[in-house]
């Protein structure tokens, strides 16, 4: 084996790589935001909703958690088509990621909601807060603060998993890498660079979440401890 590594062949492609990084960030940011909203609503529905809604959410969560993201992506992509809707690969990719990460978020947030002691509810109720006010101020906010580390890990995994959307030719880093390797025939080098970029991305995303926590959780900023 006398393979000559040649990373220089990739040099002209660095703007493309950068664009791929940017696209991956954009894709995962969108999926994270919408997935968080969907997941939190599902968690609340599962804790407080009527029976039928609880069942619907439970079925959704189980279906997503027990099937691969790749298949979910195909189903969403072809599902839109079979509904006669013309959507771009990227829209389908975001939709599939949201559906996927929403289910995981639901489970994590639910654990958080369950960890809030009943006496907290009672105290808020005795102060005259409405159910919605209590739910928001005394249950949801501290619950999310408590499960924030788990959510962070989940969303880093989501960023990495967004690479799978390259399979329906969504625009992101892995799709860009696929294109570069077929241009340069430097497959191994291309994926080494891609891997390194993802490792950097996962550090950056984790760091961003840590900094964001300092902004939204003043308690953590001041005390530096988990709730």
């Amino acid at each position: 084996m006398t393979y000559q590594f040649d990373f220089s062949a990739l040099l002209p492609y660095w703007p493309l790589f950068l664009e791929g990084v940017w696209l991956t960030l954009k894709l995962s940011a969108l999926a994270t935001i919408f997935g968080f909203v969907v997941g939190t609503l599902c968690a609340v529905a599962r804790a407080e909703g009527p029976r039928w809604l609880k069942t619907v959410v439970a079925i959704y969560v189980e279906m997503i958690r027990n099937t691969p993201l790749l298949v979910q992506i195909f189903l969403v992509y072809f599902g839109f088509a079979s509904l006669g809707l013309k959507v771009t690969a990227n829209t389908a990719a975001v939709a599939a990621l949201v559906v996927n990460v929403g289910a995981y978020t639901c489970e994590i947030v639910r654990a958080g909601l369950e960890s809030i002691h009943k006496s907290q509810l009672e105290a808020a109720e005795c102060l005259g807060l409405t159910r919605t006010q209590t739910y928001w101020h005394v249950i949801v906010r501290p619950a999310i603060e408590r499960v924030y580390p788990a959510l962070t890990s989940q969303y880093v995994l989501l960023m990495l998993a967004s690479s799978i959307t390259s399979q329906i030719s969504a625009e992101e880093l892995t799709a860009v890498a696929n294109r570069i390797q077929s241009d340069t025939f430097r497959s191994f080098e291309t994926y080494i660079v891609t891997g390194v970029l993802y490792i950097i991305l996962s550090f950056v995303v984790r760091l961003a979440f840590t900094l964001f926590a300092l902004v939204i959780f003043p308690r953590r900023r001041k005390l530096g401890t988990a709730i």
Partner: protein, 216 residues
């Protein structure tokens, strides 16, 4: 054209390969992962750091990219006519090892410090202490998350399709290429995955419940 029993049978064969590939990934990942978990709690800082770096690199790379790296990397080092299962198997073993190592390190560390000290006071060797005292306790804690991770492995074997290995997802793609009924085909594929994964998830949950009940 529509889905015929022949197609279903083809997909079912793919499902068997999914199970087989998952088994390879789990067994290989367990052996490597266990070694890594021990390395992560080693008294030697250098060993700890090496294992930690390995885990960070593997966990920071998408499995899809890892699989591409093995696929093209094996060709680079001269094995260019190996069956797809080798690259897929190796990639999944590496992937599983890093995650299993982290899960098990957590379990080992959750055995109370007093247990380690007690074992030390009994003049057990490091090895005896591990095998006789710590492991039995850690394993009890570890079963639920390990079974839970098995579900991740099964689902992630679907990515082996990108290197051309015909497991469940790839079987679905091939069937779809002949009948052009993507939605139907992938619903069937999803159902197969669900049938494999759901019992594992349920088992993991019940193990967790039992463990929590035992602790209370």
């Amino acid at each position: 054209m529509s889905l015929t029993p022949v197609h279903i049978e083809f997909i079912a064969t793919g499902a068997l390969w999914t199970v087989g590939l998952s088994a390879i990934a789990f067994v290989g990942g367990s052996i490597l992962g266990f070694a890594l978990a021990l390395a992560r709690i080693s008294p030697v800082p250098f060993v700890r750091r090496c294992a930690g770096t390995y885990i960070q690199i593997v966990q920071g790379t998408p499995l899809l990219v890892t699989l591409f790296l093995f696929y093209f990397g094996l060709a680079v080092v001269g094995f260019d006519s190996l069956p797809a299962i080798v690259a897929a198997g190796l990639g999944l073993v590496i992937y599983s090892s890093a995650f299993l190592a982290e899960i098990w390190r957590g379990c080992l560390e959750s055995v109370p410090k007093t247990q380690w000290e007690a074992a030390e006071c009994l003049a057990l060797t490091r090895w005896q202490r591990m095998v006789r005292v710590i492991l039995p306790q850690a394993m009890r804690i570890a079963t639920a998350p390990t079974v839970g991770f098995l579900v991740q492995i099964v689902k992630n074997t679907s990515l082996a399709s990108v290197v051309g290995f015909v497991e469940l997802a790839q079987a679905g793609k091939l069937v779809n290429n002949t009948i052009f009924e993507p939605f139907t085909v992938f619903i069937v594929v999803a159902a197969f995955y669900f049938v494999i994964c759901y019992p594992l998830s349920a088992w993991s949950r019940s193990l967790e419940r039992k463990l929590n009940a035992g602790r209370r």
